[in-house]
């Protein structure tokens, strides 16, 4: 196994183990997502056609807000005892650190969406069972895009003033293209929008993911240079 994969697996295993033992991030993020879902449901519940039309917006707003909470925690834990400094000073390839953290965030966001999506369907009286594959692919691609943008920026926000405000302020505008494509794509899937096929929107998110992913991995070395 190459050093990259060894380090990647070690960091991933460490993060998953800590999370499985403490469950602090997963519990708070899922609970936050559930609370959001109820709030949105109270706010938007209407006739069946309206419910179908607002579902994409609710889903992607929930992904965005829960995702922001999740990525904010990514490196916060590494601050204790200067763990991140030790990690950055070690001969670990920095791309392995970023890749492991991105995977953890993707899993976290997808876990939240796995709870939220059926809950929204139940609360809004909408049957999403016929669109599982399409919706899953759009959500997965969006989660990847969000994690690729948010994870590298979260390391920089940790040491900054007002990190809790700074991170969403920076990440939200950057991921807007993903959100627009996700919302339009799922609207096309549910038949409430006729502009483009959902596959075309999914391809747009994929293009964004590739572009931003390359940028994030290219820049990460400089981001943690101090």
């Amino acid at each position: 196994m190459s050093p990259f994969w060894r380090c990647f697996m070690a960091i991933l295993e460490k993060d998953v183990k800590i999370e499985l033992r403490s469950k602090e991030t997963v519990a708070t993020v899922v609970l936050f997502g559930v609370v959001l879902t109820f709030l949105f449901a109270f706010g938007f519940i209407g006739d069946p056609q309206t419910n179908l039309a607002v579902i994409p917006g609710i889903l992607w707003a929930a992904l965005l807000l829960s995702g922001a909470l999740s990525i904010g925690r990514t490196f916060a834990r590494e601050q204790e005892n200067s763990a991140f400094t030790a990690l950055a000073l070690s001969p670990t390839p920095r791309s392995a650190i970023l890749a492991a953290k991105v995977i953890v965030n993707i899993v976290m966001i997808l876990g939240v969406m796995l709870v939220i999506t059926p809950l929204i369907a139940v609360l809004m009286h909408v049957d999403l069972s016929g669109h599982v594959v399409g919706l899953s692919s759009l959500i997965t691609l969006s989660a990847i895009g969000f994690a690729l943008v948010g994870t590298p920026l979260s390391i920089m926000a940790v040491g900054a003033r007002f990190p809790e405000v700074l991170l969403p302020m920076v990440v939200f505008p950057l991921v807007t293209p993903v959100m627009i494509c996700g919302v339009r794509g799922s609207a096309a899937l549910l038949g409430t929008s006729v502009d483009l096929n959902y596959m075309a929107w999914a391809q747009m998110i994929l293009a964004f993911d590739i572009m931003i992913g390359l940028g994030a991995f290219f820049l990460f070395d400089w981001m943690v240079s101090e």
Partner: protein
């Protein structure tokens, strides 16, 4: 000599020629737009907004691209000059962005009957403007330290690819933003003259802002040096 003090050597000369050119150019631009340019048959007087709107939009994009380019250079070299140039470009790009987002709705109201439309190019321009506003807010209120500079630089470099989405927005999403408008020869003269004048003003503003940032940094470095000597 102290590193921070020696890293900055801004030119002390006032770019008087550029200031005169820019000021005279603005008078000329107003003459060309309001008197020389022929009246457009459909949009009437509202079409004249276009001569300020389009050059501002181009220079806004150029400002953001320059900001991303200098930010990338700063990340690679960690040189204060590159960061100051990135910041100056973003500030001037934002200024032109304000002109675009002010003149655009004025034109939209006359053409479409609404101030704002969720049309792809408008939306993407607004997002791009938001990203660089965030950059400017971080740089203005985050304190001038290397962490904030790097954070801003990364934001600018990651934010710039959104320009790509602006470009594909019209071709792929088929919005109703005018594209490749056919222009009369006189209108073309006015448009390109305005573009040239705006380029002069843009360069002047970037240069002046860059000097302000570099002078500020020199002053801070020198005051730190003085306090060390005094202490």
């Amino acid at each position: 000599m102290n590193n921070r003090a020696s890293e900055v050597t801004p030119s002390s000369k006032t770019p008087l020629l550029w200031i005169i050119l820019g000021a005279a150019g603005m008078f000329l631009a107003h003459y060309l737009v309001f008197i020389y340019a022929p009246m457009e048959s459909t949009m009437r007087a509202a079409q004249r907004i276009f001569y300020f709107h389009l050059p501002s939009a181009w220079l806004c994009y150029i400002g953001f691209i320059m900001c991303a380019g200098w930010s990338l250079r700063y990340l690679m070299t960690q040189k204060s000059e590159h960061d100051a140039l990135a910041l100056a470009s973003a500030e001037v790009g934002l200024t032109f962005g304000v002109i675009v987002l002010t003149t655009g709705p004025l034109w939209a109201r006359a053409a479409w009957g609404v101030w704002w439309k969720w049309e792809p190019r408008l939306t993407t321009m607004a997002i791009l403007f938001l990203i660089f506003t965030c950059y400017w807010v971080i740089r203005s209120f985050g304190g001038d330290n290397s962490g904030t500079r790097r954070f801003g630089a990364v934001l600018a470099v990651l934010g710039a690819p959104n320009i790509f989405f602006v470009h594909i927005a019209v071709t792929r999403w088929r919005g109703d933003h005018p594209n490749n408008v056919g222009l009369e020869p006189e209108m073309r003269v006015v448009l390109y003259s305005c573009l040239l004048i705006f380029i002069i003003i843009f360069s002047l503003l970037v240069r002046l802002r860059y000097r302000v940032h570099m002078d500020e940094r020199t002053a801070i470095a020198l005051s730190r040096r003085l306090s060390r000597i005094g202490g």
